[in-house]
């Protein structure tokens, strides 16, 4: 499918009769702008490109199970004439970054207009600090006003000049009620001897340290060495006395589902999707972590077209539809926490169960208990090394 688009795109470009179609140019037309990244855009040309190249995580878009189409993307094309080349090729922040830093560090374009990276991992901040992100064309995103307040001024992008949230999720603790009494706090998770060897902790520094710092009464949004060391020591102790079975990414899910774990530090969306009524997820008593996958325009991407798309998904009506899907039409929704005010109202029309799901539309009380990890700490080399040595023995 990608290849057919490439040919069509080429022909269109030839028809426009613009740039010389050289042999390298044809080779480079892998579905992108194909140009070397220019250094710093000053004024944005307000012209829509024919194609928008959008890299995202898998299963992160509303999809029609029968036709395999993405309804919201089709609707976008109908509205603006822009075809979205949607690629689900991000499965992990670290490896995706490891891949794109190659071309970006050489000033080459990665042929993407939008990529999605998580804010409680270091790479989002790193992209901004290295100047590898294009500034958003805010004049094309009036719907930005619909951004929920808690996301308006994150510490890695104070004025939201470069990023906009895609979806959020929460990190907390899940437990299996057939195997254990409710595990509702990090204290319980890390120190209850009854759970020894039957718990896992997330290998993501931002998630794990947020939860443990909060349990210590410290502030994870502003990390001090003292707070770091206290939380680190606690986790270290749990590793040494074999309380922690493994550090996991989302591979805790099968182990938890199978009953090999009594409790696990886990992400909210996963547990809802396990479909096991014995497994309960909660924000820990002292608080949990909030993570947000953010859209970002990498250097060389088409700023105007990307901005127009972002504006489109920030329309509450569109967001509501994307979030809920439509069970009647065989469309699965995204089922994570949307960053757009008012999306819940529209989601109700398509699937009331989604609108009422506290993991997808959490209450204000829940939201007040989840925190975003300090982005400065995420790039602290000392902390990073300590953490990696801990989880890698």
């Amino acid at each position: 499918m990608t290849d057919q688009l490439t040919r069509r795109q080429l022909l269109e470009r030839a028809a426009i009769g613009g740039a010389a179609i050289t042999f390298p140019g044809i080779l480079a037309a892998c579905g992108g702008t194909g140009s070397k990244a220019s250094g710093g855009t000053t004024s944005v040309e307000q012209k829509l490109a024919k194609t928008l190249n959008f890299s995202n995580w898998t299963l992160y878009m509303d999809v029609n199970k029968k036709t395999k189409h993405f309804p919201s993307l089709d609707a976008f094309q109908k509205k603006t004439g822009v075809h979205v080349n949607y690629m689900e090729d991000i499965n992990d922040n670290a490896s995706f970054f490891g891949k794109i830093q190659g071309p970006l560090s050489r000033g080459q374009s990665i042929h993407r207009d939008i990529v999605v990276l998580t804010d409680n991992d270091r790479y989002l901040g790193l992209m901004l600090r290295k100047g590898w992100a294009e500034k958003l064309d805010k004049s094309a995103i009036p719907n930005m006003k619909n951004l929920v307040d808690v996301q308006k001024h994150p510490n890695f992008d104070e004025s939201r000049d470069y990023t906009l949230p895609w979806q959020s999720g929460m990190s907390g603790i899940a437990y299996n009620d057939t195997l254990t009494d409710p595990v509702l706090s990090a204290d319980d998770l890390l120190e209850n001897p009854k759970l020894k060897g039957k718990i896992t902790v997330l290998n993501s520094m931002g998630d794990a340290m947020t939860i443990v710092m909060l349990a210590n009464g410290d502030d994870p949004t502003n990390v001090t060495d003292k707070a770091w060391n206290a939380a680190f020591k606690r986790i270290q102790k749990a590793v040494d006395n074999k309380q922690i079975r493994q550090f996991t990414g989302n591979d805790y899910a099968p182990i938890l589902a199978r009953g090999d774990l009594m409790a696990a530090m886990s992400w909210s969306g996963d547990i809802a999707q396990l479909g096991n009524k014995h497994i309960h997820w909660n924000v820990p008593e002292a608080g949990g972590a909030l993570w947000t996958d953010n859209m970002l325009i990498p250097k060389g991407g088409n700023v105007y077209t990307a901005s127009v798309y972002m504006n489109y998904v920030y329309d509450p009506k569109v967001q509501g539809a994307m979030e809920a899907g439509d069970p009647k039409k065989n469309i699965t929704g995204i089922y994570y926490i949307p960053p757009v005010k008012g999306a819940g109202e529209f989601a109700k029309r398509y699937d009331p169960s989604v609108a009422n799901n506290p993991l997808i539309f959490p209450s204000a009380k829940t939201l007040s208990k989840v925190k975003i990890f300090d982005s400065k700490a995420l790039n602290n080399q000392k902390y990073l090394e300590q953490w990696q040595n801990l989880i890698s023995g």
Partner: protein
């Protein structure tokens, strides 16, 4: 001459000895059957779960039986193109790698030449390089090749796969060439065949099992590779890339379907081959 099963003459030995011989003979078979059971156990589990209608997005616990996954085996966007790409690459890469590897193996075993030791080291090095730096360094090569604009996708993946498969092919075919009985070749040449004909009609058929084994090995490695492929795939998605990517939100049961299906199709193809051969032999003997 390939190994022939040889029946011991039953002239010696009393009943216990023949009984012991019976047990000994079948121990190997029983062991081998157990081995295959162990080897294929996960595939059985995978196959079973391909019929599962998962309770949520995750296919970890058995919920209820359904034919839907098989019926709509390509019902998830991206899965069909990923497996087609993987099969294409695996096929082409294994053929080329085996061909190149066989040539190298022949040179290494049969000829003394300067740079022999270096070549041997060159063959071992890719095997010992951790995948992540292998993939990343190859990516760097492609990025620095500014005289041509490299299109990341099919060709870069193919190049990467051939690169790491060659060593496997070389070592596998070498195992056959070392200790190869030259007298057959010498006999052929004494009877007037030139080198090329000898190679074609004597050597090649005799090392065919090794070439087939190398092909199978390379195919398997290629179709399962993740790390090196990930770095050099651009926006193309192979089957392992798809599986790893979808695992975050729950790999769909269609993944199980495809894995099982490939296995079944390959086995059926082989079986058909055997049956056809048996028919041919029967017809020939008749």
């Amino acid at each position: 001459m390939s190994a022939v099963a040889v029946e011991r003459a039953r002239t010696r030995g009393s009943a216990p000895a023949t009984a012991w011989a019976f047990v000994k003979r079948h121990v190997l078979t029983v062991y081998s059957v157990l081995f295959f059971a162990y080897l294929l156990l996960p595939i059985a589990v995978v196959a079973v779960f391909s019929f599962n209608n998962p309770p949520g997005k995750f296919n970890f616990t058995w919920n209820k039986f359904t034919w839907d996954n098989w019926r709509y085996w390509n019902g998830v966007p991206g899965i069909e193109s990923s497996i087609i790409l993987s099969l294409e690459i695996a096929l082409i890469a294994s053929l080329i790698a085996t061909a190149l590897g066989t040539l190298i193996a022949l040179a290494l075993v049969r000829y003394g030449f300067r740079g022999r030791a270096t070549t041997n080291i060159l063959i071992f090095l890719p095997l010992s390089t951790p995948e992540i730096v292998l993939g990343a360094s190859l990516l760097t090569l492609f990025l620095n090749a500014t005289f041509i604009t490299v299109q990341f996708g099919f060709w870069t993946i193919l190049i990467a796969h051939i690169m790491f498969c060659i060593s496997f092919a070389v070592v596998t075919v070498k195992a056959r060439l070392v200790g190869f009985d030259r007298h057959l070749e010498e006999a052929a040449m004494d009877l007037g065949a030139n080198e090329w004909t000898t190679f074609r009609k004597v050597t090649l058929p005799l090392i065919a099992p090794a070439i087939l084994a190398a092909l199978l090995l390379c195919f398997a490695i290629s179709i399962d590779d993740f790390v090196v492929t990930y770095f050099n795939s651009g926006s193309r998605v192979t089957f392992p890339l798809y599986v790893w990517g979808s695992a975050r939100n729950g790999a769909p049961p269609q993944v199980n379907v495809i894995g099982t299906a490939i296995f079944v199709i390959a086995v059926t193809a082989m079986l058909l081959n055997v049956v056809i051969q048996m028919r041919r032999e029967r017809r020939g003997a008749a």
